[in-house]
Symmetry: none
Subunit: 203 residues, 4 copies
DNA sequence: TATGAATGAGATTTCATTCAT
DNA sequence: AATGAATGAAATCTCATTCAT
């Protein structure tokens, strides 16, 4: 990569990182383009070379962060439980994501309820962090390991992600209806129940 | 209520209604106090006689609309299925809410993912529409009819509401992963599974 | 007029006057809304209560100033030469305008070549300075005094105004092809010739 | 011309042509250096290798376009009416220019009222399109053919050009006070009258 | 010569809030 | 209680110009 190209990527990354910090610290509305540019150490006009406006940079951040989150969970699964079956793998990923969000509340607050199925799909389509993999590939890999078959697996995963994102947010951020540690057994059990509901009789 | 009092309530309602319309049409950020006052046919200064700022009026709207939504579902249950058991009643309410949101997409877009357990709780605390009832009363009434007992019923309802709100939003607004009509059987089935997971063995 | 109304007119006038000063001193491009507001002693936002943008205030100024210029010439004619015939009156007005522009070069530079027939027409339509008179009324009055009849008098006046505005500008501002004093005899003579060319044979 | 020289001229021409298009399409103020460079297919910095700023390129365009306009009229006169007398030649040129402006309204809108005596003079001084001729040469040639003599011919031509430019603009662009077709007889007649007013008694 | 990323001053515009009437 | 003119801080965004490559 040429020096110029390198420098460009550097500036863009700096804008993204500092925007994320500000969004999580002050919120989207209270963060101004000026804030972002200043913190990133670039001129205000430079921001507009890379992003259309505040919402543009936010969307790219959501895509990046969502993809990274899911990707980390999957990578960990491969490392820690390379032999896990499908159901076990799915529960491992759900648990991993919940734990990470619990430890990284600012990330959760930022992703808010955009942490959803469609966000994941979009994130895998747009994210530059993962180049040669798509959500479909991830899921297919998970399925390939499974001898059990499921009715409409995509819908199943959708429901699980929505439930994790939504219930996790409420529990972690507001402690409603109870802290995550208390909620988790019921939440995981419910996920288990949902999976069971989608299981097809063995062929 | 005196004529003056009446007039005041009239202005406040007009502000609330027109704010709701604008929020759903243009979004919160793009709606200004001026817009709201103008559409409501009052002067800008008048807005501040009734609400603190834009976020104040939004919160009151969320509370009102959420409470109305849940209240209508419950009222309908009492009318249509006065003898429904607990589980049946819960499923009826879930279905009712989903249908109403599907038919009233602007309401759904406004409530967004604020359609959650905590919002319901808050809405019942703050809402002026329902004066002498609380969420607890509603739920207790539902439970009283039931002979079956549940482990941690509040968490159960929480999970169901989160799932409905989150999955319903994605499906109705974005058609992701599929339209509501297609999703509903799986969604209702999953709710059923969650309920089952919380059921205690008959005493 | 109420105190508020009075104050409003005051602010608007102040904006108009100070904008005119700045436009003539620094030119349209170099004058900013901030400049105008500051010089007028009002807040920047106040500018936008009265004018859409810089071009809006400029157009109103052109209309006002054009109308005032023509109006002063006509008033002077009535005072100085109440018995002048049509041709004499027209030449008097032409001469009067030329002299005023020559003495008020900033006005001329501002009106530039917008000092034209259509500007006059517009100015009489829009200008608030002259309330109950229109260009047509002025011209009709001039004509009424005349026993001579003209082919297409409106076109005649149009050509004369265009010639005065255009040639006058060049001569006064650039001294091209010669200063006004030198040009005037030929210019007035040419106007005279144009008038003669429009004269109809006596009925 | 070397290949490099050729390439340079090519870039300069491209900048000029595309600037002209943009000026006529969007106006001077709304056209940016970026726009021009982009449309011309060169980098922004390259613009500054050829022109000082936006006003520099505009002035060169006015000079070029004015000179071309007048030149075409004269060339046509030589071809179509090689034996025309002075008065006839002048009227022919006036008519030719009016027709061309009428057919090429964007050119007229661009030249606006810069279509004037001084612009013509400047254009002949600066224009690169006509290398070995000057306005004076043109006019002298016209005059040489004439046996009639005129008082102050330069002023005469000045007045005619101003009248054509100013009245033509109003008529062609705004249709004020009437379309060119309607205006032309009166306009040409007035020019004729002006010429007559400058004619000296035959020696 | 040519490029185009970077600059950053500054222009335009918005809008929540106040306060005199 | 109601008004709406006025404010002015602050936000967004532009763009001519420079300069390292």
């Amino acid at each position: 990569m040429s020096k110029v190209q390198n420098n460009k990527q550097h500036k863009k990354d700096s804008l993204l990182n500092n925007a994320f910090t500000l969004f999580t610290e002050k919120g989207l509305n209270k963060t101004t383009i000026s804030d972002i540019a200043e913190k990133a150490g670039v001129a205000k006009g430079t921001f507009y070379l890379y992003f259309k406006d505040k919402y543009d940079i936010r969307n790219r951040l959501i895509a990046n962060k969502s993809a990274e989150l899911f990707s980390r969970a999957y990578m960990d699964l491969l490392t820690e439980k390379p032999d896990a079956g499908f159901e076990e793998g799915l529960l491992y990923i759900a648990d991993h994501i919940l734990n990470e969000l619990n430890e990284n509340k600012t990330l959760l607050a930022f992703l808010h309820k955009d942490l959803s199925w469609s966000a994941f799909k979009k994130s895998f389509e747009e994210a530059t962090v993962i180049d040669d993999n798509s959500l479909e590939v991830y899921i297919r890999k998970l399925f390939e390991k499974s001898s059990i078959r499921f009715r409409d697996p995509e819908t199943m995963i959708f429901l699980i992600i929505e439930l994790i994102g939504s219930a996790g947010y409420s529990s972690i951020i507001y402690g409603e209806p109870c802290p995550l540690e208390e909620l988790k057994p019921d939440l995981m059990k419910s996920i288990q129940c949902i999976i069971d509901g989608f299981r097809l009789p063995a062929a």
